[in-house]
Amino acid sequence: MSAGTVKVVTRVNGIEYEREVEPRLLLSDFLRGHLDLTGTRVGCEHGVCGACTVQVDGLPVRSCLMFAVQVNARDVSTVESLAAPDGTLHPLQQAFRDRHALQCGYCTAGILMTMSAFLADNPTPDEAAVREALSGNLCRCTGYQHIVDAVLDVAGSPQRERPE
């Protein structure tokens, strides 16, 4: 261990990693830069936009507000863990595609990691509950309607009519 660095041992998407990092290294930068998992996006670095959301021990967290050292001995899941190894999309991802729930795609990973955890705890939410759960993730492109539709599709709620 060189001066000023700390050892981190963490399991990310089921794979164990051991790295030397500066204590001040953000979890978002650790995932994107050190582990080459660039699917997690960085939007604000002050915890508001939610683009950087990953799951730590199953709970959605802002990776921009955590240090890499804080996931020592913990489990991290990023958007790269959702699709199957052969590329088959996770049902939530497929619903996003079917409903045009993404445009530029920059907020999408954070929303997928927030919503997959939400649906695990709340399998049959209504629209109000979905909007509440989604309210910590900003999207500047979609206006949220198609995202809500996609989540409700996966939750098995009645099909919404497509506008027009």
């Binding site: 930068d29 790269e80 999309l89 595609r97 530029c104 500047r140 206006g143 497509r162 506008p163």
Partner: protein, 787 residues
């Protein structure tokens, strides 16, 4: 690849709601954004920015920063050589007769003076972003603060502090446009309504901030730049010129871009010039990702205008004329010219018959960040003024506000309508087609206007609820030139490649353009590989902005696909020894009618590039074509928005009960994508109307400098919308397409003003809503007379 079945719209892909080609990459995190560009030798940049809105730089000492371990270089203005000069104008001034225009563009780094908080003063290049940002604190600067021209009206005064020496009143431009005789109209009017309006539009705040990476290879003297830009082809041409390079030595790639909304267009942003410059200077690779906090100051924004406007009407409520004199906050420099205030001026007509018009704007330099287009690009301001004037006039004359609008609409038989004023594309503002009465009637019907006004609202009011309704119209000039281009090529494996210079920031170009190609070549949109925004693949074009992608690039794509279709039919006919009319292109093959002989498209492409024999003079090898489309002028989309809103009388928080959009964008390539554009535009309009307020103090200091202060709307703030549409095809392009990218954002503010005034019954208290943005606090002040 999934085994999904895509469905067409009848026989064609045009008009089909095809799910997007680009989604699997974006959904799985594989998509490449500039921030993902990596290399072992990549260096990272950070910028020292002025904390003062107006100050002289007396001394900069970078020695401690340079000495910090891990710092590669620190640059200030004196290191830039001949790059230290005013950057070119991106958009020259519109040819308005009698225009006063005082061009002042920025230098890549500030020299002796800074003119806005955030103006870059020094650039640090280091081995990591963390070290680069550490080094910023090592740089010592001695400042001599100067008086600040902050507030817009204050800055316009003749004795205000001068942002640029010698420009009294900080005049960036004065432009007067008129038609008819407004003075005569006013003199003969039955009613004249005059008000002062304050309209502020906000910041684009795309989820991905700006970003640029550059690599210079000293062995080949060639540069590659990855930029989060809406205009990769323009950026390449501009950068080459500024850096003294030939374009063929410079490749600009816009990979996936996380939203643009106007502010990622070529500005000659300092960082976009300096990162490539540094890469060349260091003969290596340098990268910069904008902090969100930086974005609030370093990226352009729209801001405010102050309008003194009046409308003159006859006894039947018919508009005789409109006059509007306004101030426009330009910011400290004006590289983007007059696009925003010209659009504001031209939006005063709306869908109405306005016989006389007189409008003068003064664009004013202020010690604030540069103002340049943000989705709507100044149209919001003009639409607010005309829609509010009509609402107030309706009230004063006792004419219902929907009826007054109806009486003044241009009729379907009136087109084309030339308003005789200069638009942002330098042509006379001309509306090509539309059916404004149908749009307004449908919006009123879908929101249930009559029923609400006559039955629901009175009943709810009697129960103590504050509910209101609004309906507004807009017209949007879209699809302006100069041109875009596209190259279509059938590949040996039967897939088809499409390359265009227009970039993409989420509009679905990888899909909608593929649909146009698929229609011509008898394949599925899934078989078209689209490249946007790589100047090595396609080097000509202007960019994606101003609601022009589908119109201009789309028609170029169509033309190229039609040309390739012609070549494929001709070649297949020669192979089958028949007429081209006897050949079908379907399911990826060329098929001879009757005999059913077939040649797969890929094989046909191979036969088009023979190894022996002769290619006739004038013929071209391959099944490939490059075509361009340059519209003679913009094509006019239109629509109406309607809303029912409830206001909590104690908290002044709002709940949108119903939101209707009726829009007309002519031919829609992909209705699902169009719906997404409308939803997103309305969301930004709602943000502008009620949530997003840029707050600078009188010293030019930004007070709303984080997302906790500048509120972007969430899923709890944006309602479910009902969309409907009419179709009046554009007369200016073969496919009849009109743009739709900005439409949703344009009329939301006057809609809010109208509906909230109604909900709180403000006119009865003698209060008009004359400003945007609003908020619960502001509504309380207006409603209780504290304003």
């Amino acid at each position: 690849m999934s085994d999904e079945t895509l469905s067409r719209s009848g026989d064609s892909w045009l008009g089909a709601s095809v799910t997007r080609n680009e989604d699997p990459q974006l959904l799985t995190g594989r998509a490449l954004f500039v921030g993902d560009i990596k290399a072992a030798d990549m260096r990272h940049a950070a910028f020292l920015r002025s904390p003062h809105a107006h100050a002289l730089i007396e001394r900069i000492d970078t020695s401690r920063a340079t000495a910090r371990p891990g710092v590669v270089a620190v640059y200030t203005a004196e290191d830039l050589g001949d790059l230290m000069r005013p950057m070119p104008m991106v958009v020259p001034p519109a040819p308005v007769e009698g225009l006063v225009f005082n061009q002042r563009t920025h230098t890549p780094l500030a020299g002796e003076k800074v003119r806005y908080v955030g103006e870059p003063v020094a650039m640090v290049v280091a081995e990591s972003r963390y070290i680069a940002e550490d080094a910023l604190a090592d740089i010592e600067v001695e400042w001599a603060p100067l008086p600040v021209a902050g507030d817009l009206e204050f800055s316009a005064a003749p004795d205000a502090p001068q942002v640029h020496d010698g420009l009294a009143g900080n005049v960036a431009a004065i432009a007067r446009q008129s038609k008819g005789d407004y003075a005569a109209a006013r003199a003969s009017a039955h009613t004249v309504v005059r008000r002062r309006f304050l309209y502020e539009h906000g910041m684009a705040q795309p989820m991905e901030t700006r970003a640029i990476a550059a690599r210079f290879d000293r062995r080949t003297d060639q540069m590659t730049v990855w930029a989060s830009t809406q205009a990769p082809t323009s950026l390449r041409g501009g950068l080459a010129a500024v850096l003294g390079m030939g374009e063929s030595d410079l490749r600009v790639i816009a990979p996936f871009v996380g939203g643009g909304f106007g502010v990622k267009v070529l500005m000659y942003y300092p960082e976009e010039v300096l990162i490539p410059w540094a890469a060349r200077r260091l003969a290596g690779a340098v990268k910069w990702i904008e902090d969100r906090g930086e974005h609030f100051l370093a990226t352009t924004q729209e801001r405010g205008q102050i309008h003194d406007a009046e409308i003159a009407l006859d006894a039947d409520g018919r508009i005789l004329g409109v006059k509007d004199d306004f101030l426009h906050d330009n910011g400290a420099y004006n590289p983007y010219g007059l696009t925003v205030p010209i659009n504001s001026q031209c939006s005063l007509f709306g869908p109405y018959d306005v016989p006389a018009f007189d409008s003068t704007f003064t664009a004013v330099y202020t010690n604030m960040p540069i103002a340049s287009p943000f989705r709507g690009a100044g149209r919001q301001h003009g639409v607010f003024v005309i829609e509010r004037l009509i609402d107030i006039a309706a009230r004063e004359t006792g004419i219902d506000r929907v009826e007054m609008r109806r009486r003044n609409l241009l009729q379907p038989g009136d087109f084309p309508v030339n308003h005789k004023v200069i638009f942002q594309d330098f042509t006379e503002l001309t509306y090509d087609s539309g059916d404004y009465p149908a749009v307004l009637a449908r919006a009123a019907e879908k929101i249930g206007y009559r029923r609400f006004i006559e039955d629901e609202q009175p009943a709810l009011r009697a129960a103590g609820r504050c509910v209101g309704i609004g309906i507004v119209n807009y017209v949007e000039g879209t699809g302006i030139g100069p041109y875009e281009g596209a190259r279509v090529q059938v590949l040996a494996n039967g897939r088809v490649s499409l390359a265009t210079g227009a970039g993409t920031q989420g509009q679905g170009h990888f899909t909608s353009f593929a649909q146009l190609v698929a229609d011509q070549l008898g394949i599925s949109p899934r078989e078209v590989d689209v490249t946007t925004g790589d100047t090595d693949r396609f080097q000509w074009g202007a960019g994606t902005f101003a609601s022009r992608g589908a119109v201009v690039a789309g028609n170029a794509v169509h033309a190229a696909a039609v040309a390739v279709r012609g070549k494929a039919l001709a070649l297949a006919a020669a192979e089958f020894d028949c007429e081209p009319a006897d050949v079908l292109l379907e399911d990826g093959v060329a098929r001879h009618r009757g005999s059913n002989r077939l040649i797969p498209l890929g094989e046909l492409a191979q036969r088009a590039n023979p190894m022996r024999g002769a290619v006739r003079p004038g013929a071209e090898p391959g099944l490939e074509s490059t075509q361009y489309f340059g519209p003679e002028m913009g094509t006019t989309a239109s629509g109406a928005h309607a809303m029912i809103v409830e206001v909590d009388p104690e908290t002044l928080m709002i709940t949108i009960r119903d939101y209707v959009v009726v829009h007309d964008c002519g031919t829609a390539i992909n209705p699902l994508i169009v719906a997404g554009q409308i939803h997103g535009g309305v969301a930004q309009g709602i943000g502008n109307a009620f949530f997003e307020k840029i707050v600078f103090d009188s010293h030019g200091q930004l007070l709303s400098g984080s997302l906790a202060d500048y509120l972007l709307p969430t899923s709890l703030d944006i309602p479910r919308m009902t969309l409907d549409h009419t179709v009046t095809p554009s007369t200016l392009n073969e496919l009849g397409i009109k743009g739709v990218g900005e439409a949703g954002a344009i009329p939301v503010a006057p809609l809010f003003a109208q509906a909230l005034e109604d909900a709180l019954q403000l006119p009865a208290r003698g209060v008009d809503i004359l400003e945007i943005p609003l908020s619960p606090n502001r509504l309380w002040e207006l409603a209780t007379g504290q304003a």
